[in-house]
Each structure stands twice: as structure tokens, then as C-alpha cells.
Symmetry: C2
Subunit: 230 residues, 2 copies
Amino acid sequence: MASYAVIGLGRFGMTVATILAETGMEVLAIDKDQALVDAISGKVTQAICINSTDEEALRNLNLDEMDAVILGIGSNIEESILTAAILKKIGVGMIHAKVENELHGRILELIGVQKILLPEKIVGTQLAKTLSSRNILEYTTLTTGLGVMELLAPPEFVGKTLQELALPTTRKINIIAIKYNYLTVSDEGHNLIEQRINDMPGANDIINEGDILVLMGKTKDLDNLVDDLA
Amino acid sequence: MASYAVIGLGRFGMTVATILAETGMEVLAIDKDQALVDAISGKVTQAICINSTDEEALRNLNLDEMDAVILGIGSNIEESILTAAILKKIGVGMIHAKVENELHGRILELIGVQKILLPEKIVGTQLAKTLSSRNILEYTTLTTGLGVMELLAPPEFVGKTLQELALPTTRKINIIAIKYNYLTVSDEGHNLIEQRINDMPGANDIINEGDILVLMGKTKDLDNLVDDLA
Ligand SMILES: Nc1ncnc2c1ncn2[C@@H]1O[C@H](COP(=O)(O)OP(=O)(O)OP(=O)(O)O)[C@@H](O)[C@H]1O
Ligand SMILES: Nc1ncnc2c1ncn2[C@@H]1O[C@H](COP(=O)(O)OP(=O)(O)OP(=O)(O)O)[C@@H](O)[C@H]1O
């Protein structure tokens, strides 16, 4: 079973530690605030109250044997930087750190932290992409350059089959699912509209108005499609 | 063309305003800090320096005609709450707001803000899901209950065809792409490993060790798969 240490139990660190523990991972939670340590101690493998800038205290925890250390100290930038430097010194392999701003991120990168996360920027980017096209209901990028987008079927797609659109060949984009409205009748005889998912769309499936297309492809190919439709 | 107002140009608001403008949207950027207004004024349709708690000033901006208002005030919680209340009063239809904590979010919800975003929690959840299975390289949830996951092919899948695995029928999960390592030879005759994507996996495709499977399905079905593989 994988094991993780989470240093700093603010909004970010507490979320990470709690969900990792819920999915059955071994979690060591660390914070200098005793009340936060007490709040989490029943949910994780171990919770201890130490100051992470105390090198001796960190050395005794065998953090270098963990799968990763998650550093969730934000507004105390100096404490975050000092802690990261100590973690690298004692041989921790993989560090994921939340940062306060770009400069904080740059410093941690230079120290050797592998994954830098600026929550406001990540969430701001995703919201802007989703808003930038009223047809886009959701736009998500995966780390490896692939993206998934939920797009309200644009007029130029309506009435066409997947074969006619030929998105995979013309645009290197796949329609991986189609959400459509299905008219049924309730037990009491009322008309009901249910949203259903066709998760194995075939070449002869026709796109109707109001359908939501779940598209997958490289982010640059998805962005090109959005630009052309705008 | 869609039009948006962004109130508060911190890390979140500045990101949203800049990307919306880059994708060609009409953007009105607002902040009480003149330096931030000056910094963005060349990139957006209009940038003005006002205090968003000044009801008269907000009334003159026709914000109710915008497609949405994005509220990016965080640490000044009272200013955020007062601004949201004024926006609802002057008839703004759609508000997306970043919040500082759960309580701040709860209050804005009661005022009528439609989309509440707590960046630390969103990013913390995504990191924890990605870490909780060493096989998961990426786990992303779309708002509508669908999820996409990049999973290192688990041992029990290796050597099997997609037909044999029958994920769509047994687990309601689709393999929408397979990333695999392709051995080629460079111009100078060296062995090279390239990562390629098979974005139209067929029933007879075989899963090899080291393949990365891009899976799509309802988040509960993806979570079940992860639990069973753990
Ligand atoms: N040197 C330290 N050793 C241990 N814990 C620390 C140290 N410095 C800060 N912390 C803890 O880390 C947590 C988060 O720190 P901080 O307040 O700096 O970040 P934050 O950006 O506000 O966090 P979040 O955004 O996740 O709420 C707090 O619970 C704090 O007690
Ligand atoms: N009443 C107000 N009117 C206009 N702008 C405001 C008002 N209150 C705060 N702002 C601006 O909103 C921006 C973000 O505010 P604040 O510092 O409260 O949030 P934050 O959580 O630190 O932001 P972020 O996390 O996005 O960096 C700042 O640029 C600030 O000048």
C-alpha cells in the first residue's frame, strides 16, 4: 500500500490527507497546530504535531521511504521553502507542493520540488476555458497534453452522422460519448425528459440539436476546433 | 460574442480575465487597485478602477447584460459578500465566485451565486485522487458526473484484448485511447522509444505492459474500478 506524508493541514493539505486516507492509503499528517492534528488524528494512519522547519524532528520520520511528500504550506512562504530544502536534504524522492505565487513556485522548482500547484491559476484557467465558448460545458486538460471537452452540438454538426463528420481523420478528435435528451412517460403519465449517455457512439449515430458531445483529443486540436466554431 | 465582467484581479481573477480576453471574449476587468487595472488595461476590452461595494458605480456598468460576472475577491470576505449581494440586486443573471472557505461559499450560495469555487479544495481533491492509485496518472472529473482517468495498465489487463476485458458491459467504462511505447530507430541508428496514442482502440487491440489507458465513465464506476484494483 502506498504511503504519503502531508505537511501543513490547511484547506489544501487537509483535503489531500483526508481523501488519501479514505481511499485506503497510509497517511502521516503533520502540522504545527495541535488543534488541526487532533481534528485529523482519527482519520489517518498517524498525525503528529511538529514544526516542519525542525530538521531533527523530520529526520526521525523516515520520510525518504514514503511514495511522496505533499507540502501544503502556503501563506508562510519562508516556512514552505525551508521545509522543502530540508526534505530534499534528507533524501525525499517525490514532493508535490502548493504555492502562493509564481515566485514561490520558481524557488521550489530550483530546490528540486517535482510538482508545483498554484490552485488559483489552475481553477481560473479551467473556468475561463469553460466560459470562452458558450457551447463548452466543460473543458479539462490532462497532464499529458490530452484534453476532454463537453461541447453543446454546434449547428454545423446537427443532423450529421459521426461518419459524415469524420472528426478523427479531419481533426484528430474523437467523440467518446453523446449525452442526449430522451423523452419518456412517467408512471403517472406525464412527459419526462431524461438525460442519457450513449457511451459507445457508432459511425451511423446522428447528432441532434441539444446533444452534448464529449470530445477527446490533444488540447491543441480541441482549441483549433473551438476557434473554428466561434 | 460573449461578454464577461471580472471583479477582483488577484491570482484567480487576473487568470480568468486574461484567458477570456485571449480567446476573443469581451471582458470588463474591475479592481479597486489602480496598478492592477493599469497592468491589464491593454489586454481586455475595458478596465476600470472602482470599489465593487459602491452600488451606484456598479449600476452604471450594465452588468445585468453580461453573460456572467466572475467574482474573484477572496481574503476580503465581507467585500466579496457585499459585492455579490449588490450584483443580485441589480439583476445580474449568472455569477461565478471564488471563495476563501466553506462558510464563505455557503453565504454566497444563500445570496444566489450559482457557481462556487474553492481552489484549494478542487486542486487538493484532484491530487489525492491521482496519488491514491500509483497506476492513476491523471484523474479528472467533469461537472456532469463523468470522469476521465489515465491508468497504467494493471497486471490483470495485460495481454488481454478490449473484447476480452469487456469494460463497457461489465463496468460501464470505455477505453477511449491507449498510449503505448513504440520502438523506432533514429536517423543515426539509435534505438528510440516514442510515446504514441491509439485514439480509436478496437475490440481486438491487445493491452501491453506499460500501456496507459485513457478511461471514461461515471465517476462512481471509475472509483469502483480503482477500489477493485487496489
Ligand atoms: N513550519 C510549519 N510546520 C508545520 N506546519 C506548518 C508550518 N507552517 C505552517 N504550517 C501549517 O500549514 C498549514 C497551512 O499553512 P498556511 O496557512 O501557510 O497556508 P495556506 O495557504 O493558508 O493553506 P491553505 O490554502 O491550504 O488553507 C496551517 O495549518 C499551518 O499551521
Ligand atoms: N471592494 C473591492 N472592489 C474592487 N476590487 C476589490 C475589492 N476588494 C478586493 N478587491 C481586489 O480583488 C483582488 C483579490 O482580492 P483578495 O486579495 O481579497 O483575494 P485573494 O483571495 O487574495 O485573491 P487571489 O487568491 O485570486 O490572489 C485584489 O486585487 C483586490 O484589490
